[in-house]
Amino acid sequence: MWSTVAAFLAAWFIAFFRFFLPRTLFEPATSFKIGYPEEYGLGVDTKFQQKYRIWVDRTPDRLFVIYARCTHLGCTPDWKASENKFKCPCHGSGYDSEGVNFEGPAPRPMDRAHVEKSPDGQILVDVSRLYQWPKGQPSQFNDDGSYLPV
């Protein structure tokens, strides 16, 4: 008898916690197109910061997409063009123009999103697949999909 009561309460207890984890989300898509590689000049492009929370970054030989989330506690840093760096307004982490941390509490460079060429030639970004460079561990920034050669 008591075990029945206990099982009943336990089931509800578990259900109570499961209840807080919804199956369906109505969040922005994690995969999207951002135009053609030729549209981007050298340096940091902030035009998709507001819409997709990314920066498109082009170096002489590569194009990659930085996911605009500070690796300290998740605020969105600002691109300071005059100082050639990213600066997080929350706790002051600073990153160079390629998103590599050099000041403040950030533990690692900002993550980079998966990029690939879609069949129509546009850049397809997927921010649910991130490439990291954790402190003291090998960098994933040279993995396939972390950049597009240009």
Binding site: F17, L21, F26, E27, L73, G74, C75, P89, C90
Partner: protein, 311 residues
């Protein structure tokens, strides 16, 4: 047709007027006899309001200044009966207690009242939340002072909880037999901080949004239950099923997070905190009352207790 008159049988018709007359007559008679006695009672009642049935049904004991009545005044009152009827005369000195627990509770009441009033104008949705705050600030009569009372009382409550805890620590009031109540107090501290944190997001402004972003990002590193915490990955935690996801109702601070904050802030946590407060106050009394120094004995009482040898 006679049946349709509805005036009874056998053709004997009693008119409406007749019936009214007799009823009126009865009433007048009763007023003549009853009114004077009732009036007398009323006048007596006005002379001695404490003797009326209404009064004695509310206040069940006398108020002469006797120790018994003073004790009954506390015991027979639903709001006061959590208090002891008598306490050590030193226990009420502010220099021993700072009154911080009481002030904290007072602030909780202020927050409850102002919070309920703010709820009349606030919608916990992304479209309306911040607009409602501006509306409260600039257009609702007394909205600005209500919001500011709520905000400042919230800040103060966090401070007074810490000071209360500090005092209890300094006076050693966490020691036996009060260990249990110290733990209840720690839970109340956590709930106070959670109330503060969940309230932070509700204005849906930049400050609150990023504060909650930062706060919930820490939850990623929760041991076992966070996807970046120790053993989290081993237990299959991802950004879509860990404790942060459960708090936010999503993987980002968005509409679900605002609604969840609102519900925890206005309903969930206050109920749990109220229950724990009842336990807390009850245990204060059961564990020996407000703590203070050993009871002071008057010189006269001292002589009486220790006998003439020490006089």
């Amino acid at each position: 047709m006679p049946e349709e008159n509805g005036n009874g049988k056998n053709g004997k018709e009693v008119g409406l007027l007749e019936r009214l007359k007799s009823a009126l007559h009865e009433d007048v008679q009763s007023i003549r006899t009853d009114m004077p006695t009732k009036a007398k009672e009323q006048i007596e009642g006005l002379k001695k309001p404490t003797k009326t049935a209404v009064y004695t049904s509310i206040f069940r004991h006398k108020h002469d200044d006797t120790p018994r009545n003073r004790a009954l005044g506390v015991l027979s009152n639903v709001f006061l009966h959590l208090h002891p009827a008598k306490i050590n005369r030193d226990a009420v000195r502010y220099s021993f207690t700072w009154g911080m627990g009481g002030i904290t509770f007072y602030l909780f009441i202020v927050l409850t009242l102002t919070g309920v009033l703010l709820m009349f104008y606030y919608h916990p949705t992304k479209l309306q939340a911040f607009r409602d705050v501006l509306y409260l600030e600039h257009d609702v009569p007394f909205g600005k002072i209500l919001r500011n009372m709520h905000r400042w009382a919230a800040h103060l409550m966090v401070i007074t909880v810490w000071l209360h805890m500090f005092r209890v620590f300094l006076t050693g009031s966490y020691k036996a037999p009060r260990q249990f109540n110290w733990n209840i107090g720690v839970l109340l501290l956590v709930l106070t901080l959670l109330l503060s944190f969940t309230g932070y997001l509700l204005p849906d402004d930049q400050l609150g949004f990023w504060a909650v972003t930062v706060g919930t990002n820490m939850a990623r590193a929760t041991p076992l239950l966070g996807h970046e915490g120790p053993f989290g990955k081993m237990l299959g935690m991802t950004p879509y099923n860990d404790v942060r996801f459960g708090l936010l109702g999503g993987s980002i601070v968005d509409a679900n997070a605002l609604l969840r904050s609102y519900i925890w802030h206005c309903i969930g946590i206050p109920i749990v905190a109220s229950v724990l407060m009842i336990v807390h106050f009850w245990r204060v009394r059961k564990d020996g009352g407000i703590s203070g120094p050993g009871s002071v004995v008057l010189a006269s009482e001292d002589k009486a207790q220790r006998g003439p040898r020490h006089a």
